[in-house]
């Protein structure tokens, strides 16, 4: 067993392939010296020996699914930029803040050179003239580690003008966030990087690959996505796709938190590892705490509809999880045992999204707050029966039609697959509703139990004195 105090939460028990966490076992994995000693910057050198188009093709063939939430393949994303339009930019999304998500911070703190090398490979392959590495403000250690690594890499000639004596020249600029969840959305991230309020842009027309930073073609990639590239540049796409499944190759970092015996961050084989493996496996979480019963779990970050033990045997595969009514999102799994107060847990998440609404879209700005207030009333024991229907009605105004949910053998209901329709520009509004909808659909009796029937009190009309 090795749980390193300098990588709190990361656990590498078992004999699993390590693509992005291979240096987490070193207490100096963030230094250039250690990076060099462990094959660092060999991927960049291998890439520079080939043409940009060849490197792009390799990444496309590897099918590196985006690890930020949407799961869109990186190589395909790069190919969406209009040909011949320059300059193009790379914006690195290090604004990790989806509830339950804990991986990008570790990658930045523990192996910043791997991320930098990934940025360089992406910039070379896709013809990106400048890189902006946007790190969430509330991660000063990540700033320090990435900042120091950038300084080392400039000094060693890996970044800047004529990298390693080639025609390849690019700057990487470390950029600071300042605390706003919605900025993790790619168009909001670009707005923020332009010095503005982090309000998402409407897509279409503002797909970043076409119209991004300063109106130019821009690739926004997640930290974990880019951290995969050095390994692929050295070992090739075929070695990468040999791990995992055809539709979900490689590995993924997941954070399992909540009521398990051994919560942790694990690098797992993509596409085949099941939720049962994760929660009960010896090399993973080793069961639910105190031998308790599993009640529900959130499979892909706070925005994801919930699962129950019925879905335990689903593998970590995007399409299957989508068909089952949820999403894998950012690899954040939160586990609730049978002691959990479900309405209160839903309230915690709804509060988060209501508070983080940027305020642009009325259904999210007002609806999120209404959801929170009504739910708070129910949790506090001041709710009435109409409140439960009202929650669903408010949700309908954010997400019209059938909202995705899991099947339940206990309730005899089928799944409604992902995704949802929405009346908002981005997913923050629907995310406020997701926990409410899941909890009400799967555990309605717990809400009803909180509703106290009150006697009807007749209103008396008369002089103010009558009330005394």
């Amino acid at each position: 067993m090795s749980s390193y105090p300098w990588a709190a939460g990361f656990i590498d028990d078992g004999d699993r392939p390590q693509i992005v966490t291979s240096r987490f076992s070193f207490d100096d994995g963030y230094t250039l010296e250690r990076y060099h000693a462990t094959g660092g910057y060999e991927g960049l050198k291998a890439a520079l020996r080939r043409t940009p188009a060849e490197v792009h093709e390799e990444v496309k063939n590897a099918t590196v699914l985006g690890r930020g939430g949407a799961g869109f393949p990186a190589g395909t994303k790069w190919g969406l930029m209009p040909p011949g339009k320059f300059p193009r930019y790379l914006v690195v999304n290090g604004d990790e803040s989806e509830p339950g998500t804990y991986k990008d911070r570790l990658l930045m703190e523990r192996d910043p050179h791997q991320l930098i090398e990934g940025c360089l490979i992406a910039a070379y392959a896709a013809g990106l003239s400048q890189v902006f590495l946007y790190i969430r403000g509330e991660m000063p250690l990540a700033h320090e580690r990435v900042g120091a690594a950038l300084n080392e890499a400039y000094a060693a000639g890996y970044i800047g003008r004529n990298i390693l004596g080639t025609k390849f020249s690019v700057d990487i600029v470390l950029h600071w966030g300042a605390g706003a969840y919605v900025v993790g959305e790619e168009t909001a991230l670009i707005e923020s990087l332009e010095g503005k309020r982090g309000e998402p842009r409407l897509k279409p027309p503002f797909f970043p690959a076409a119209i991004g930073l300063y109106g130019q073609p821009t690739i926004v990639n997640n930290v974990e996505t880019l951290s995969n590239l050095p390994w692929i540049a050295v070992n090739g796409a075929a070695a990468y796709t040999a791990i995992g499944t055809a539709t979900s190759p490689g590995t993924r970092m997941v954070a399992v938190s909540g009521h398990v015996n051994r919560p942790g961050v694990y690098e797992i084989v993509n596409g085949t590892t099941t939720f049962r493996d994760l929660f009960y496996g010896d090399e993973f979480c080793q069961g639910i705490r105190n031998g308790n019963e599993l009640k529900a779990f959130v499979p892909g970050g706070g925005s994801a509809p919930w699962f129950t033990p019925d879905q335990l045997d689903l593998p970590f595969e995007g399409r299957l999880v989508g068909a089952a009514g949820s999403m894998l999102g950012s690899g954040a799994i939160m586990v609730m045992d049978h002691t959990t107060d479900i309405p209160k847990a839903a309230l915690t998440l709804t509060h988060f999204y209501a508070a983080e609404s940027c305020g642009q879209c009325t259904p999210c700005r007002e609806g999120g707050t209404w959801l929170e207030r009504v739910l708070q009333r129910v949790v506090d024991g001041r709710g009435s029966k109409v409140d439960l229907d009202q929650l669903l009605e408010i949700g309908e105004s954010i997400c019209p039609g059938n909202f995705p949910h899991a099947a339940s053998s206990k309730l005899g209901i089928e799944a409604t697959p992902f995704p949802y329709k929405m009346t908002t520009i981005c997913f923050v509004g629907p995310s406020a509703y997701a926990p409410v909808h899941s909890a009400l659909t799967l555990f309605r009796e717990e809400f009803e139990a909180k509703i106290v029937e009150r006697k009807h009190i007749p209103v008396t009309v008369g002089a103010p004195d009558d009330h005394h």
């Binding site: 989806e98 080639t166 020249s169 700057d171």
Partner: protein, 202 residues
């Protein structure tokens, strides 16, 4: 005084020089002003606006969007207790209750000696180590009431001064781009293909 001082103004200009458009430096410069003064003052807003070529209202509009910017003095240590899902499932409410009792202030308040400001916070990306808090955004994992009291003692006694700088100082290491190595900014107004791409030859 609460405009950026001479050294920070020089640093601000260096930071602005890394971006194709000066306004992109707004958030880093606001952080710099907060590092200098402990919070973001009106004079600093006006100064940042001058530097990035925006109006003070535009800079204020940006600043107020982000939770980390404070517009009045806060304690030397900002104690943010996470209350999101995993922390809430593992005792965040009890931790906050204990913190309010120990510090003698409600969430949102500052202790009379100006040492601590206590706040409710949202997910801190450490969910497997719940319950969490941050002191000036430095993580403290798996907190208990005992470890909370110990932390406050250590902070009061100055035992963590090397690890946790006063509120406003974000990172103690800064990026510096050496002028002789810099590739230079890629301005959107100069539509040239990068030198290493085949398009550059034509």
């Amino acid at each position: 005084m609460s405009r950026l001082n001479e050294a920070n103004t020089l640093l601000a200009k260096e930071i602005i020089g890394r971006y194709p458009k000066a306004r992109s430096a707004t958030i880093p410069l606001l952080h710099l002003s907060q590092q200098q003064n402990g919070y973001v003052t009106n004079e600093a807003i006006a100064h940042v606006a001058e530097l990035v070529g925006a109006t003070p209202a535009e800079v204020m509009g940006t600043a107020t969007f982000y939770e980390m910017f404070k517009f009045q003095p806060v304690g030397k240590y900002l104690v943010n207790i996470c209350g999101t899902m995993s922390c809430q499932l593992l005792g965040a409410d009890e931790l906050m209750h204990h913190a309010e009792h120990t510090l003698g202030v409600k969430a949102g308040g500052t202790t009379a000696d100006g040492m601590f400001t206590l706040e409710h916070a949202e997910c801190q990306a450490a969910c497997t180590e719940a319950p969490n808090l941050q002191v000036n955004y430095r993580h403290c994992h798996r907190m208990t009431t005992e470890s909370f009291d110990q932390l406050i003692d250590d902070l009061r006694a100055g035992r963590l001064d090397g690890d946790i700088p006063p509120h406003g100082t974000l990172a103690q290491v800064r990026q510096t781009i050496p002028a002789d190595k810099a590739a230079g900014v890629a301005s959107p107004d100069e539509p040239v293909a990068p030198e290493w791409m085949p398009e550059a030859a034509s």
